[in-house]
Symmetry: C2
């Protein structure tokens, strides 16, 4: 397997009120590292778009030991670990300046045929470049525990904004983290630090939609759901440490 690494400093506008790297930025930086690797291997966006294909992330698992502060330098390391004809698993590790692993991400990716929005077989010539391990079954991330009808749901609606949309005309994945975090009260957010996230995407969201961010408060954990009308767009489980 081919490891790839980027180095980034946390800038003030990438932090939240705690002065630490925001949750959406963790995702953005992970995706940046994988994009840069693909570009370097000659199979970046231009290459797969020319084949009518786009990468899509299906699920994320994020383990946070500590979020780095504004001014801290991070190294973000990634590689394609395992693949089969339809899925790739890609881990990411965020190291701080003393070499400690502070954030670990696992992610499951697939490719979409852009015209008919259907899952596509991963082209062998693309997969070969990453030097990943061919497996029968790509190791799965467990499903987040679902919200049920018996749960007490707190919810808030969010209108999809022009700047939530990326160049692919879809909501940037990292926005889901913002909606899921924002529905929690400032009091909760200021007294709890997130330690673990498991987020599974179900259905895409586009400009003009209004989504409902739902949360159920548990003991040291929260369960989340993003709804577009009756359709589930994403589900997640967050674990928290009291401050």
């Amino acid at each position: 397997m081919k490891k790839y690494e980027i180095e980034r400093r946390v800038e003030y506008y990438e932090a939240d009120t705690t002065q630490k790297l925001s949750l959406p930025m963790i995702l953005n930086l992970a995706v940046l590292a994988s994009k840069n690797q693909s570009d370097e291997l000659g199979v970046g966006q231009d290459y797969h778009l020319a084949m009518g294909l786009g990468w899509v992330i299906l699920q994320y698992e994020v383990a946070i030991k500590r979020r780095p502060k504004v001014g801290e330098l991070m190294r973000i390391q990634t590689y394609a670990a395992e693949y089969n004809p339809f899925f790739v698993r890609r881990p990411f590790v965020f190291f701080d300046e003393s070499g400690d692993e502070i954030i670990k991400v696992s992610s499951i990716w697939t490719m979409l045929d852009i015209k008919n929005r259907r899952m596509a077989r991963l082209p062998q010539e693309i997969v070969d470049k990453y030097d990943a391990q061919r497996v029968k079954q790509v190791p799965r991330i467990p499903n987040p525990i679902k919200i049920t009808d018996d749960d007490t749901i707190i919810e808030n609606d969010y209108h999809v904004r022009y700047l939530d949309i990326d160049a692919n005309q879809h909501v940037n994945n990292s926005k889901y983290f913002e909606w899921m975090q924002d529905v929690l009260s400032p009091e909760y957010l200021m007294t709890h630090e997130v330690t673990h996230i498991n987020l599974k995407f179900e259905n895409e969201i586009r400009l003009g939609h209004t989504i409902l961010s739902q949360v159920v408060l548990g003991d040291g954990e929260t369960r989340h759901r993003i709804m577009m009308g009756d359709t589930v767009s994403a589900e997640a489980e967050f674990k928290w440490r009291e401050l």
Copy 2:
């Protein structure tokens, strides 16, 4: 005067649906350049916070020849141009890789006594570091033309989100650009490119507020107002080029 420069590449999550640097990011990068200069001169955030003072931007004027695309490398140059006991004017120039000036920003800054939220005299030992020109009157940016009662106003409300707030517990300045842009229809935004912005801040916004973003459409220009109840929080004029 002491010029200072940073170099940055436009990353995918810093662009909007046009694949070009988003309006809020123009502001974020300008402020980053001035922050880095202040740090290098030894009068950064730690220094002025210890005096109970914080920098505040009162007004921005932005002239956009073209916004750089994802992957482009920019140089952002800044210096403190003129100052008097209360105000500093700081210009910024964004250069592209061929050395063309693609974005120019002028900005007026003051310092706030953080405890009583009042304007403070600029400490001479801070101002001296920037080697700016002492003047009687800092050149003013004209006021944006106001929205009046006769205008046909289009408006949308925005709830201030947890991630809109920066480490100073106030809304990040760049969010005003998002609210002002987002109230325009996707059809307008996809057929017009902004060429000039004049934005004046009036009153701070905090977490939990809901603001109203108002816009009046003119011929090649839009006039904007951000309201917090009856209080004007900011006013702006945007000029647009049809695509």
